[in-house]
């Protein structure tokens, strides 16, 4: 039973005389007041947030409703910027390039996010197992390395590794092929099938990773998975530590099926972590620029032309800041909607 507190201003409240001699009720719970010191400490953070977060956002909204092409700055200075209402937004509906890039980005998201989640989960479960402590420590540290690598460097590494003439990946492929050849006579039947398959997939023994549209898309995906799977693994590993050991032990006594333990005991504790991964990775992929730009510049054709590369091109190559701002605001809205969906359908607190 919750005890009902009497209303603050009743006749039962003690009273004290005010300065003017008038009787004022004494509050049962004194109002929380902040000293100027607290405001002083909070102000820098709030000011920085306003300066680097809120103001640019509002400025982008303002830009998105005006014509703002940088090379016309002098004309604007003399005559002002034309106010277009929502014309820049409506223009996006007819912009086939924008629609295609957005669709491609969603395909990228739908392929990569599940892969990263599943691989991250597997790594987290392996690291959660008892034993081999020193090996697990090494793994934990090495998981941080991809995360600590600058995005543009990841792209440049990818460009070198997947280079069709001298990349290390094609070198590995060639080594595997020569291995097949050397052990070929021993594996007569299997070798024929494998070799036939291989020749079908790789006609010239040199895979054209970045020159073939589908493979270029796959290559960018591989680099993204390489960099961000460890992030998923670390978040899920920390979620696994939240599972009370006694519950986990009891569950393991009940069943020897690991997926039952995972599904019924561990997964519910991981849902907040999974939701965080979904939100952060979705936002990251929607604004993924550096890796694609350094690896393929959106090519070949428009095979890897993800939405942020497209927006950057409109904003900084065509210098149409108005349209680019409208595109960026649309992306922000999509990110917010997806985040709300994730929270609604995935987020559970235990």
């Amino acid at each position: 039973m919750i005890e009902q507190r009497p209303p603050a201003n009743t006749s039962t409240d003690p009273v004290k005389p005010s300065r003017k001699g008038k009787l004022m009720p004494i509050r049962a719970v004194p109002r929380k007041t902040y000293s100027s010191g607290v405001i002083f400490f909070l102000a820098p953070a709030v000011i920085v947030l306003l300066a680097v977060g809120i103001f640019p956002l509002l400025f982008a909204v303002w830009n998105s409703m005006h014509e703002f092409i940088l090379s016309r700055a002098r004309i604007y200075a003399a005559h002002g910027q034309p106010f277009l209402w929502f014309q820049n937004y409506l223009g996006l509906v007819n912009d086939a390039g924008f629609r295609e890039s957005l669709f491609r980005t969603f395909v990228f998201l739908l392929i990569n996010l599940p892969i990263q989640l599943v691989l991250g989960l597997l790594i987290a479960l392996l690291l959660h197992k008892v034993g081999h402590e020193w090996l697990k420590n090494i793994c934990r540290v090495s998981l941080v390395i991809p995360l600590a690598t600058t995005l543009a460097v990841v792209g440049l590494m990818g460009r070198l590794m997947f280079n069709s003439s001298f990349g290390v990946v094609n070198y590995a492929v060639a080594t595997v092929i020569s291995l097949f050849h050397s052990i070929g006579p021993l594996l007569q039947g299997h070798f024929q099938v494998l070799h036939g398959f291989w020749r079908h997939v790789v006609p010239s023994n040199m895979i054209d990773w970045l020159g073939n549209p589908n493979l270029a898309f796959a290559t960018v995906s591989i680099m993204d998975c390489w960099q961000w799977t460890p992030f998923c693994a670390l978040v899920l590993l920390s979620s696994l530590t939240l599972v009370p050991p006694e519950i986990e032990e009891a569950a393991k006594l009940e069943t020897d099926r690991w997926w039952q333990v995972l599904w019924r005991v561990q997964l519910p504790f991981m849902l907040p972590g999974i939701t965080a991964i979904l939100i952060l990775r979705t936002a990251d992929i929607l604004k993924m620029f550096d890796v694609v730009y350094t690896m393929t510049q959106g090519g070949p054709g428009n095979a890897t032309d993800l939405i942020s590369v497209y927006v950057q091109r409109v904003g900084f190559r065509q210098v149409d800041q108005g349209v680019a701002s409208a595109q960026a605001i649309v992306l922000l809205i999509i990110t917010i909607i997806l985040s709300r969906i994730y929270i609604r359908y995935f987020y559970r607190e235990i």
Binding site: L70, S71, R72, A73, R74, G97, N163, S164, S165, S204, M206, D208, W209, L210, G211, N212, P213, A216, T296, Q297, G298, G299, P300, G301, N302, D305, R313, F316, R317, Q318, V319
Partner: protein, 443 residues
Amino acid sequence: MRRFFCNFIFLLLSASTQFAGAWSLEEAAKPYSGTEVSMIFLDRPGYNAIIKLLPDFEKRTGIKIKYQIVPYENTREKEELDFSSNGELTVALVDLVWIGEFAEAGWIVPFEEIKKKYPDIIDPNFDINDFIPLILNAFGTWQGKVYGPPFDNYSGLLYYNKDMLKEAGFDKPPETWDELINTYAPKLTKNSKYAFALQSRRGETQSCDSFMRFLWPWGGSLLDAKFHSNLGNPKSQEGLNFRQSLEKYMPPGIVDYDHSDAVNALAQGNVAMITEWSAFYSTLVDPKNSKIVDKLGVAPEPKGPDGRKPALGGFSLAVASQANDKQKAAAWLFIQWATGKEIGKQYVEAGGISGRQSTYKDPALLAKYPFIQPMLDSWQQGVPEYRPRFSEWSKLTDIIAEWGTKMMLNQVSVKQGSDEIGTRTEAVLKDAGYYDGKKPLAQ
């Protein structure tokens, strides 16, 4: 009285002649000593060359040169943001395809204005007519007005591996594109070695170095006289189809080849010929990067049915309008010195490419740098509007980059790709106001 006047005029004339004869950089720069000039440089040989020579200029003039090195891909956006927000740049580095935009936006000052406003700082020996006419016209001139002299100058050249050609039975490079594809290419493409590499990566590399290269020599062009698409023209189609046919003599994945990849393919002996900018000569003769230092041959680009119209690219330097009066004068003094006759030879020796005819009159210089003569030959026959130089190029280059690579990947046919580029180009130009007379038809 008459005698007095005669003497006075004589004195005046002799003083002015003496003054003109005595023009010196040090004297002209005195009022501007201590002024700071800021600009953007690229990480390319021409800029490294001028950086080497800069201390001499600073010592003689007292003008401080502040530069930041920026990748080419970010230069335009950086300059545009700076000029549109009254930033700190006092000299504009103007790529040939930016001149229309910068001039129309009023970001750069015409040479005539500088001459009128600061007559004392103009070197009587500057001689604007000494610059090679094609590159002065293409890099530094917009609608008949000169904005700045050419500074970092390129022409497309044919680089080839002499040994590979010799092994295949050729003692000289192909003179025409037709010869290249029919006679040279089949013999040079074997055992994972290829006859030719054409840098075609999406971006300016695709639009400028790959797509446009196969229009002009065939008599085609991107736009006709009224600025409608000219890609449907049989000559343009012939050139673009030629590019498709040439692809089978190029390494796989050519649509992902950037400049460095094409240069590297030649330098490592994997391809026999490339058409690349003159600036890459220093990379190809550097033993650290190249295996073909003593096998390298340089020639002008091959001729097409319509003659030799090689790729043309380069940068001019112009005074930025946003600079204050003192900075403008100091900026011009720097530009005048950096592109002047006086340092022309030193600039070339340091790795730059001067745009002055007088620099190349020295036979020793031509003998020392074998790429110079083919480059000079190329500059006699190029077209200034090799790429349109109006501000809409920034949109067109993206359209061409996308559909040009799609053509090379056979995702669309040459005809479909040309139609797409044509339709989209015309939509951009219509919006810009070229078809209703709002903008003059200048490229």
